[in-house]
Every structure is written in structure tokens, then in C-alpha cells.
Amino acid sequence: MQITIKSARLLDGQVVDLVLENGVISNIGSDLKFGKIVDVGSNLLIPGLVDLHTHLREPGREDSETVATGSMAAAKGGYTAISAMANTSPVADTAGVVEQVYRLGQEAGFCDVFPIGAVTQGLNGKNLAELGAMANSSAKVRIFSDDGKCVSDALLMRRALEYVKTFNGIIAQHAQEPSLTVGSQMNEGIVSSKLGLTGWPAVAEEAIIARDILLAEHVGSRLHICHLTTAGGVELVRFAKSRGINVTAEVTPHHLLLTDESVANYDPIFKVNPPLRTKSDVAALRAGLADGTIDIVGTDHAPHPLEDKDCEWQSAAFGMVGLETALSVVAKSMIDTKLFGWKELVDRMSIAPARIAGYTNHGQEIKVGAVANLAIIDTDATWKVERHRLSSKSKNTPFENIELPSKVVHTFFNGRHILDGSEILNGAGN
């Protein structure tokens, strides 16, 4: 099956035609016409986006999201690879579970689904999971994380960092000192003092980041900091990189755009872990993402059914869906504000995450012979987020009715046309 993408604009402004054949780009030129013609009208062609932080809820909470619905949402958001976090039920702490998730992703066929393995058994924070078995499984797990929970025990964290060196693995830490965040509901600051919600201090995040940076340096291993949210955290990562420590960092789209002021009406749609922070934190995160201190954007796509948000704040679940809005939210936060351009966006949302995770078929240079994992963006479009139009099984987006810039209009996964306009064409059956 051949597909010709007509009139695709590259980052350098050149408009070209591309032929996709047998999953790879077989030809780049002008006036090409082979197989199915997809005229993209000079919209921007980028490598498909790569997410290192996705919660898919399967196995266990298929009412919130399945691997299939989550990867469909990913395709709509321009993603060709996502990474399924381990906090499922059962936890992805054995080869069996990660292989199941990997297989479900392949069967769905909307994008690659790479499982992340748990660091500790059942996320208990006490005993290491079988990291080697997961690494050697067919899912070839390289990222390990207890995300949702922090690996708070310093010795265990040290051991995990050391252990994954065997297979060039990486520990993705959810930085949250548990004793400083007992019952925490939102960022601790002026807004929490007014709302009477238990505070979640920045230091609870920063203390773990600082500790883990020093541990990573000490044992010479790779550390990835999930969802950075504080100005202090950005400073710590900057310091670590200046010392040559092998640390990478991530920020979510929502932390680039929203602040704790959103909590003022107690609508749990804004309840998220880590919490929304202050304006100055948002400014620091944007600056950090612009100068490369923060390497990547990770969605922390966290689906929850309606009943987990349709209640009082304190009882509500933490988390927001994000796959389908990520690119637009980053464009609004970073490009509309002229903090960086499309080249940097592509780096932070595709090239860098693929490099960190070792997803060699993704985030590659667009050239003949490369695997055809691609997305087309209408950079002039604006669109309004409407909950009911989301492909994700859960609708907990904080951006309901918000106008966002730039729209993903096509995705191609392994040379197959997955998203056409706002329509998902087909998955594995294609």
C-alpha cells in the first residue's frame, strides 16, 4: 500500500511531496503521485509525537480507558508512540503484565504503546520489581516508574538507579516526599490558605529532586524527573545538568498553562498530581522548557470516569486527560508567547522523548528510509475543546470550551494513515 502526502511543509519552509511505502518514507520530491493521495495543503509535517507519560488504565480500570481508546486519543493528538504507566491493576511489575499491555497496543494499532515497568512490587515502595525480566520481555521495557507514587526510600531509589544500568534503563521518578504531602489537596500558598485546602508544598517535590540528582551522580545512572512543576525544581535540574549529571526532566502541558488560581471554585476538574502551581512557577517551567533545562513534554494523560470528578474536591481523583490537547496547549504556552518555535516544539515533544526512551522508530529526521511515523499540523487553525468530542474514554479535560491554537489534522503510523481531519480511519485492521 502506497500513500502520497501532497504539499507538506517542512520545518525549514520547503513544501514537498512524500511517498510512504511498506511503513517507511520511500520518496521525497515534488509532483509525486503514488497510491492514495493525501493533499495536506501546505500544512506542517513533523515527526509523530512521543509521550513518555500516559496512563491507560488497562488492565483494571477499563471503564476509564483502555489501551485501544487511549492510543486512539493519542493518534488524534498527533502521537505515534506513547508510554503506558505502570499503575494499573494489577500493577505492571511483571513481564506478564507489560507484555499484555504491549500486545494490546499492537492489536489496537493506532500507535506504538511502550509499557513502563514498576520500580517496586505493586508500587509498594519497599521491594524492587523484576526489572530485568521486564527489560528482557517482548515489551523490552527501558523506563521504570512508580508514577503516582514516589520511590521515597533513598536506599531503594539508589538500588533501582544502579540496577537498571545493566540494560541502560532509566528510572522516572514521581518526586513527592510523602511525609510532607499527607492529605495534600493543592499547591501550598496564598490560594490554599484562602480556600482552606491542605497544602502541597513545592519543597515536597524539590527535596526528592535534589536527593535523586545527587544519587544519580553518585551511582552514575540515568534519572528522569516526571512532571516538574516548580521554579525550584527547574533550578535544581539546571544545576544538575551544569554538573554533567545524567538527568532529564519533563513538564506537562497543563502545568505550562494553568495555575492554582483555577482551583478557586473547587471544581475537581483542576485537581491533579502534582498540583497546579503559581504564575511564577509557570513562567519558570516555560523558561526551562525553552532553554532545554526541561527536555520534554509528557502529557501525564490521566483518565478518570465522571463520578470520580463529580463530587466535592477532597473526594475527587487526581488527574486530567491530555493526549488530544497537548500539542495545542504547548503551542499556546510556548509558541504564541514566542518562547520558542516549531523546531523546538518538535524536539521537546518528539525527538528528545524518543531519544531518552530509545524509541528508534520515532522522532527521527524526515528522510527517505525513515519509518513513516508522522503528523501534520494546521498551525493557523484554532479550535475549541469540547469534552464530548474527545476520543479518550474519560472526558476529564480542564480545557473544556477553551480556544486553542494549532490542530493536528493527520497522523501516519508505520506508514498507515490513522487520523484524517478529526476522523480516526482505522487501526491494525488497515
Binding site: Q185, E188, G189, I190, V191, S192, S193, K194, L195, G196, L197, T198, G199, P201, N265, Y266, D267, E307, D308, D310, C311, E312, W313, Q314, S315, A316
Partner: protein
């Protein structure tokens, strides 16, 4: 006035004064406890309490009954339904029962606002204490009591100095009082150990002190907050004795108050911990006035929320059925 009373922030200074004035007129009309007014006849007020608070519930119940409203007490505490669902389900039940107002006490901050905003019910919502957020009718009754004791302050509290001492961090009474008192122009000083003050307090329009003895001689009103002993377990302070020595209102401190100063407490008091027995029973203590005024202020709030046409209702019919005194209305 708005449809709901969720936070003192919902009211401007003038609206606060209107409630206090209404309560004052109600005091004149219904000075005998037996007097019943027909004002809310046919209206249903539900007391929805997810937390035990017999005093607050009785106060609201008494206020509603004096205005002839039908009162339903719904004690939701200990309900076996999972927490999140129970607020919504209970609310929808009340809606089906035709509640005109829901007085809600809940252990979650923001629960009253959720109830008002969620679309689960159409009734007016009155916040009777939500978690560690607010307790607006308590602040209103405190202001009423202050006005009663300091008749020179009518609608402007400039020149009045109020100190609130105790667990500011977890106190909904403190939050509502800070908003209300500063709105009326009073100077407010918050006194507690640093562990019991919220981190963002620097943005509040108040002065803060860690030393009660430094503040006590200058204030007109000393509001003592209840100290919950479970705070000690969480290391907010070392021992009850140490807290009591530093922040309890004992005889010595009572004597260092200005001659005209009054002592307030939202109740229930723990004598011997935050307040000594002789302080609680001294002539300066207005605790019982606070209780009595609570009913009046809650009557005023119910009247303001339910005593008129439903919001959004037509006002065109107004002049026709009244007499021509609309000029003075």
C-alpha cells in the same frame, strides 16, 4: 443578596451591614422565644450535616422555625455510601423533596460551593462550615455581637482592633472572620504558633504575631479559637501544657486586657486548654450572647435568601399587589 451564602467573600460591606441590621430588627420583633413569624411559611429548609455540630444545627433549626419554615434535619454522617457519591446523591434526594434552602455542614473545604455550582440542586445553599474553609454565619454573628457590645461601631469598624488566637490554619471561623472584619475596616491580628498559621498568610490583610502577651493589651476583642487535640498528635505543638502556657487565656492574661475589651469563643470551649474557666465565665465573655445572636443572624440570612421572590422571578407584578408605599421600600 445573592442566591447562596457560601463565603463572606460573596458579600460586600453593605450587604454585611444589611444582614446585621435585619438581625437587629428581628431582635426587636421576636424578643420572646415563643414568637413565631409567618414569613417563610410553606418553605422547606434542610439541615444537611455531614459533621456533628449540634449547636450550629439547633441554631439554624431554631432560626428557620421562628420564621415558620418547615425544617428537615438530614444527618448524613456515617452514611455508608462512598463519600464522593453521597454528596451528589443526597443533594438530588433533597431536590426531589423540594428543598428551598440547604444548610450544609461538611468536612470537605468547598463542599458548599460544589453543592451550589454543580447543578445537582436548585435550592439556595447556606454554608454552615466547610472543612477548614469558611463558616460565614459564625462571622456574621460575631460581628453582630461586637456591634452589640461596641455601639459606636455601626457600619464602619475602623479603629476596632480584634485579635484571633489559636489554630488559624485549620479554622474556618478565623477565615470568615478575617474576611468580614477587614471588610468592615477593623484591624485584625492573628496570634498562634507558626505551625498553626497557613503558609500563604502573608497575603492576608492582617497582622500576625506569635506572642499573645505582646498583643493582648491593645485589643478590643479577643477571639479565642477552639484547639483540637488531634493537632498535637501531628506535631503542630509539643504538648497541651506548652500550648496553654503560650496561647491559653488564663486569669493573668484576662487581667491584662483593656477595661472595655471582650472575649469571644465560637464554642464548644475546652476549659483549661485554650481558655481557663474563670476567663470563660468572666463578665468579659460574650459567649452566650454569641449563641443567642446566632439565631437572629441566621434568621436574617434565611430571610434575605428566601424571604423574597426567587431570583430571576418576575418583578413586574410587584407594584400591583402592594400598596403605593414603593417609594419608601
Amino acid at each position: 443578596m445573592k442566591k447562596h451564602l457560601l463565603s463572606i467573600d460573596d458579600l460586600n460591606a453593605q450587604e454585611v451591614i444589611e444582614i446585621l441590621d435585619t438581625a437587629f430588627q428581628l431582635a426587636n420583633i421576636s424578643d420572646g422565644a415563643t414568637k413565631k413569624l409567618p414569613t417563610l411559611r410553606g418553605r422547606t429548609v434542610v439541615n444537611l450535616f455531614f459533621e456533628d455540630s449540634t449547636r450550629t444545627r439547633i441554631s439554624f433549626e431554631s432560626a428557620a422555625k421562628r420564621l415558620s419554615a418547615d425544617v428537615i434535619n438530614f444527618n448524613a454522617k456515617g452514611s455508608s455510601v462512598s463519600k464522593g457519591e453521597s454528596l451528589k446523591d443526597t443533594a438530588q434526594t433533597l431536590q426531589a423533596m423540594g428543598a428551598d434552602a440547604v444548610v450544609i455542614r461538611h468536612n470537605a473545604s468547598g463542599a458548599a460551593q460544589r453543592l451550589a455550582d454543580s447543578g445537582w440542586i436548585s435550592a439556595s445553599v447556606i454554608n454552615a462550615g466547610d472543612g477548614t474553609h469558611e463558616h460565614p454565619t459564625q462571622a456574621l454573628l460575631d460581628a453582630y455581637t461586637i456591634r452589640e457590645k461596641f455601639p459606636e461601631f455601626k457600619s464602619d469598624f475602623s479603629g476596632l482592633h480584634v485579635a484571633i488566637v489559636g489554630d488559624i490554619l485549620h479554622s474556618r471561623v478565623a477565615r470568615s472572620n478575617v474576611l468580614l472584619l477587614t471588610k468592615l475596616g477593623a484591624k485584625v491580628t492573628l496570634v498562634s504558633p507558626p505551625t498553626l498559621m497557613p503558609v500563604g498568610i502573608s497575603a492576608w490583610p492582617v497582622e500576625i504575631s506569635y506572642d499573645l502577651d505582646e498583643v493582648i493589651g491593645a485589643v478590643d476583642v479577643l477571639m479565642v479559637l477552639r484547639l483540637q487535640s488531634e493537632r498535637m498528635a501531628a506535631s503542630y505543638f509539643p504538648t497541651e501544657r506548652e500550648y496553654s502556657r503560650g496561647y491559653g487565656l488564663d486569669k493573668l492574661r484576662l487581667d491584662s486586657l483593656k477595661k472595655s475589651a471582650i472575649v469571644m469563643h465560637p464554642g464548644p470551649m475546652i476549659r483549661g486548654l485554650e481558655i481557663s474557666a474563670e476567663s470563660a465565665d468572666s463578665h468579659r465573655s460574650v459567649v452566650l450572647n454569641q449563641v443567642a445572636n446566632g439565631v437572629l443572624v441566621r434568621m436574617a440570612v434565611l430571610y434575605q435568601l428566601l424571604g423574597g421572590a426567587a431570583l430571576g422571578g418576575t418583578s413586574a407584578q410587584i407594584d400591583k399587589s402592594g400598596d403605593s408605599r414603593e417609594v419608601s421600600a
